[in-house]
Amino acid sequence: STMLSRQAVRSAHAAARSAAPATKAPEQSTKLPSGLTVASVENNGPVAHLVLAFRAGSRYENGQQAGLVHHIRNMVGSDSKQYGGVQLVWSAAAAGSEIHSFSTPDYLGVRLSVPRDSSTLALSVLGHIAADPAFKEWELEDVLPTLKHDLTYLRTSDLVFEDIRRAAFRNGSLSHPLYASDFTIGKYSGDELRRFASSRLVAGQAVLYGANIEHERLRGYGDVHAPLKAESGSSAAASPYKGGEWRREGPGSLAHVVIAGQGAAAGDAAGLAAQAVLVASLGAGNALKFGAPAAGRGTLAGFSKQGDVGVSAFEQTFEGEGLVGAYVLASSSRVAEAVKGVARALKTFAADDLEAAKKRAKMDILRKAAHSADAATSRSMEILAGLKEGAVLAAIDNVTGSQVESAAKKASSNLSIASYGAIANVPYRDQL
């Protein structure tokens, strides 16, 4: 038969090539009367990623509530006001879902990934476990050991990135830690958690984001069924960048050091674009898994070639503030020159090969958006920050060298430093 003749196949290929390239359907977003923002994107994937996130991160704790959000994050999956926790989690799990609760200094949320066909059930479960927690006292007691486990499994980098915020923002709200400490585990009663939840877990401070789910369904749920209070909630207190240092002695022979300066705020697409180009230009080691470290390009890449030192530029952004700088890992003998070198590189930064840096920055953003689960979490937080879809990516094209250099100057003018480990030789802030 001539069904699969060579000619037919060739012409089919030609037709496919000349057809319009597959474009990503744009994100659909609705702001509901209750204040809830509902957004969804259709990637035609088999797994729906549903995120319900709130502006309820650790910055919204008051001064005596360090670690409260850690308690709330770990209590996700316990009883809600209307349903039992086991009921909710098991029914979701039986539908094939995976539930993660996350928190950053700004945001607190729950991501639920589920095969598309079971997204109705999963959506209702998500609403109850994320927005309607009951914080029953006996369940809180049972959850406290998980906080201890979290502390046990903290990496050194987690510790030192918490410290850089303490150094940079001093006693502002952005310095509040993501994790409770030994003496604050169990400090908060169910009543305190409920009070925090009733003030922060409201529709006006929330986003319901879904990847691979129909927008109408998501909006219908958010409008009618979601157990969200229709309040607008209050905005965050400002936590301006101050600059400082934090030193912590620790075991081992290596020193972990983070040097950072003021960066771009979360809603500033142009600023974030310039910052992204700056970070790409500074260099961050090889993006590829198992890739040779020497292949990493950038101003800071030279430090790691000497051996015994690892350097990577990093950036973090929060509502109203940001951090940009470098993470240095060095042995005690090399750390002084490495840290001073990094600080000098930041202060004397000159944007060369801007186009390559822009390409790397764009590649970085796109590579990290490849996995829908993390992309859904990230996009939900971008929506809360006020960024349009692909805004930073589009803004990178318009970044100029002077913008990058001024970002570097802004950061290096007031550096903060946080260190952990064998810190005897780590320079102090005024020695940078």
Binding site: H100, S103, T104, H256, G285, G310, Q316, M381
Partner: protein, 277 residues
């Protein structure tokens, strides 16, 4: 705490305060603090160092760079309850069962002695009793019927029979004469010469109370029923062959060989029970 210290030939007792003679570090507990080793940065090759900084700093996208994540249902938690200690019940167990390596069969007999004793001992006795009840019921079933047995004795009200009269009652299929004797009749019967009688029996042998004479009304000759208050001797007369009995039922004239039979009877309150069993 008071403590006694001996040193050489003297002994002094410290009532309070520390004992200055003991070494100073006795009792100071040396708490060994567990050393935590930062294993993530143990290796110092350029590759590992660079990876150790790149992964935390650049792995996630910008907004998820500083994120703390908790998996809610990503692993299954098997609750092993290894913190629960099973209490020690050895104080309450039998001594023979304390050795866990001995099979239970070896200690079965003494353990089961009491239940076995109760089951077979008490149960056995109860079964024997039950068996006895069953057999007695069966045997009693085959014995005389109760209504029949009820006829084994009759009660006669003494006030029914005035003095001087004789009444006839049926007992066990036979007529019984109950005679309420007057004093003259009693004296006459008692004064009869026993040696002259065919069946020598004094009246005292034949009555319990003198005024009451109870005899079976069957002639000892050939079994006819004599007529009361007739005959030549103030007693009974059998019309079949002409036997005369006196007021005590003894044969005086005629073919009968023996006196009228006196049944077993007893006096109960104001009645005579004939055929007391």
């Amino acid at each position: 705490m008071a403590s006694l210290v001996r040193s050489g030939s003297t002994a002094s007792k410290i009532i309070c305060g520390t004992n200055q003679q003991l070494p100073s570090n006795i009792g100071a507990s040396l708490a060994a603090s567990p050393k935590t080793v930062d294993v993530s940065s143990a290796s110092t090759t350029p590759y590992s160092m660079q990876k150790a900084v790149t992964v935390p700093a650049r792995q996630n996208s910008l907004f998820t760079n500083n994120i703390a994540v908790k998996g809610v249902n990503v692993t299954s938690r098997r609750l092993a309850h290894t913190d629960v200690s099973f209490p020690d019940f050895s104080k309450y167990r039998r001594e023979s069962t304390l050795d866990a390596s001995k099979p239970a069969r070896d200690t079965e007999d003494p353990r089961r002695a009491l239940p076995v004793a109760v089951y077979y001992g008490v149960g056995g006795m109860m079964s024997l009793w039950a068996g006895k009840e069953v057999i007695q019921t069966m045997v009693a079933y085959k014995a005389m019927a109760a209504d029949q047995r009820a006829l084994a004795s009759i009660e006669i009200n003494m006030s029914d029979i005035p003095e001087g009269q004789t009444k006839t009652f049926e007992w066990r299929g036979k007529p019984v004469f109950v005679k309420h004797r007057t004093k003259a009749e009693i004296a006459r019967e008692k004064s009869v010469n026993v040696a002259d009688l065919r069946h020598p029996q004094h009246d005292d042998e034949r009555v319990q109370k003198d005024e009451w004479s109870v005899v079976i009304g069957v002639c000892t000759h050939l079994g006819c029923v004599p007529i009361a208050n007739s005959g030549d001797f103030g007693g009974y007369y059998c019309p079949c062959h002409g036997s005369h009995y006196d007021g005590s039922g003894r044969i005086r004239k005629g073919p009968a060989p023996l006196n009228l039979h006196v049944p077993a009877y007893a006096f109960k309150d104001s009645s005579i029970v004939i055929g007391s069993n």
